[in-house]
């Protein structure tokens, strides 16, 4: 587990940024631990989710944004569902990923590459082209062995098409991406 005890110093704007981005009041977290108890991926995290919540309150910007946990969160919404203080914890995890990405602190690059490959496919065709997305992902990561054993099964069952299901007005989706980037 990484050393996290106030090494960063207190970053007073961090908490405010996360609160504004997620529309959540983080001061309401009283460390009951329900989020961590219910999280199916706690066993794989470097920092359990309740500790991330506490570190947010303590303004430990760098330690939180460079954690692996925020990338291994599967968005299953168990934490949000069980929080007694109605904090949307999964939404906060989303916002932390957004910030880590903007600041180049992604601790699990393959997750980011997979998502980028997925979105690239959506941008190009309007819908996900799974075979193309996989090729793009392998190109980005060099992980040639990724699910190589599943390909024959998927192809045999006709579940992995070789041609994209493009939409008619691809340009509309491409404009959504372009205008989104302009506003960044």
């Amino acid at each position: 587990m990484p050393e996290t005890s106030a090494k960063d110093g207190y970053n007073s704007t961090f908490l405010q940024q996360v609160q504004e981005g997620s529309e959540q009041n983080l001061n309401r977290c009283y460390q009951c631990g329900n989020c961590t108890a219910g999280c199916p991926l706690s066993f794989a995290y470097d920092i359990p989710v309740n500790r991330i919540m506490r570190m947010l309150q303590a303004g430990e910007r760098h330690a939180v944004l460079s954690s692996k946990a925020i990338w291994l969160c599967a968005s299953c919404e168990t934490c949000t569902t069980r929080c007694p203080n109605e904090i949307d914890v999964a939404r906060i995890m989303d916002v932390l990923r957004h910030m880590a990405r903007r600041e180049g602190l992604v601790a699990e690059p393959p997750v980011r590459h997979l998502w980028d490959a997925f979105l690239k496919s959506v941008e190009k065709y309007g819908r996900v082209f799974e075979a193309g997305m996989m090729a793009n992902f392998v190109g980005r990561t060099g992980r040639f062995w990724t699910d190589a054993d599943l390909a024959p099964v998927a192809i045999g069952k006709g579940k992995l098409g070789f041609r994209p299901h493009s939409i008619k007005h691809q340009n509309e989706v491409q404009r959504i991406f372009a205008r989104f980037r302009e506003q960044q």
Partner: protein
């Protein structure tokens, strides 16, 4: 008859084609009229909402805008992930400043006020399980199933507003009405590992493995699910799971719409049973036979 704007989701065109086909068949036989949203685009799924909320909402909003021009009663989708994205966006767009930002990116007006539901919710609200039972021509007699909803069909409850977030019962009630024996399943809403299979396979073999282990230990003949991602992890990855965990599961994983279609008299080929990776033939051939009935008792 109410008309709904149907949002199939990208996986319905490829990895979960049998879900799409059997969903259309079920809706047709129950009088739920689906009209595809013309030229719908991908909602962005988790990659979009985990990258930026404005991008995610904008991808969803284009579909909302097209659906709104169709004059339908609402939008329905079989996929829980598409559903969560559609509903979350519709809710967030109630805030004026966000609404304006999204419209400026989509470059068209979006009301975001149509009701959005899963096919599962629509089917159960339009036809009570007792009414569905009247359509059954081939009851799923003797088939022991565990219902697996996946994480987000009912979560977060404030957004999804359907069934219980910890112990949902809609699939249970539907399967019972079709004649199946529904076993109480403690992992109903536990995570299968989602898309982490591509990056950290050991996480999925552990989480999905536990679901298979428990289903087998309970004596289930099959798992029945409502989520394309869960189905793929449990079915297509079952060999990987067995190799990683030293197990020998051979557990069919059906979409609920496939079993419903079967009970309503549709053929196995029409329901694309051959698309399932773990063969369901043994479970299906045993159904209704005396030996199976004996065992069921």
């Amino acid at each position: 008859m109410l008309q709904y704007a149907y949002y199939p989701g990208c996986s319905g065109l490829s990895s979960s084609i049998e879900y799409d086909v059997s969903t259309r068949a079920l809706c047709k036989s129950l009088g739920v009229e689906l009209v595809d949203i013309p030229d719908w685009n991908c909602c962005g799924s988790t990659p979009a909402h985990a990258s930026d909320h404005l991008l995610s909402a904008s991808l969803v909003a284009r579909n909302l805008a097209i659906a709104e021009s169709m004059g339908v009663a609402g939008i329905i989708t079989p996929c829980p992930s598409c559903l969560k994205n559609l509903k979350t966006t519709s809710l967030r767009m109630q805030r004026k400043s966000f609404h304006e930002k999204v419209e400026s990116i989509v470059e068209r007006p979006v009301r975001a006020d149509l009701p959005i539901r899963s096919v599962l919710q629509t089917v159960l609200e339009q036809c009570e399980p007792e009414a569905i039972a009247k359509h059954v021509s081939k009851p799923l007699k003797g088939l022991k199933v565990v219902p697996y909803y996946g994480c987000i069909m009912n979560r977060p409850p404030d957004v999804m507003t359907f069934d219980d977030p910890e112990n949902p019962t809609s699939l249970d009630r539907l399967m019972s009405a079709l004649g199946a024996e529904v076993l109480p399943f403690p992992h109903k809403v536990d995570c299968c590992g989602a898309s982490l299979g591509l990056i950290r396979r050991e996480l999925v073999t552990r989480l999905s493995g536990r679901i298979l282990d428990t289903a087998a230990a309970l004596g289930a003949d099959a798992i029945v699910t409502a989520c394309p991602m869960c189905q793929m992890n449990l079915d297509m990855r079952q060999g990987q799971i067995n190799r990683a965990n030293g197990t020998r599961h051979s557990m069919p994983v059906f979409y609920y719409t496939q079993l419903a279609g079967l009970a309503l008299g549709q053929s196995e080929s029409c329901l694309c049973m051959d698309k399932l990776c773990v063969s369901p033939s043994r479970a299906l051939s045993q159904m209704g036979t005396p030996a199976q009935e004996e065992r069921a008792r």
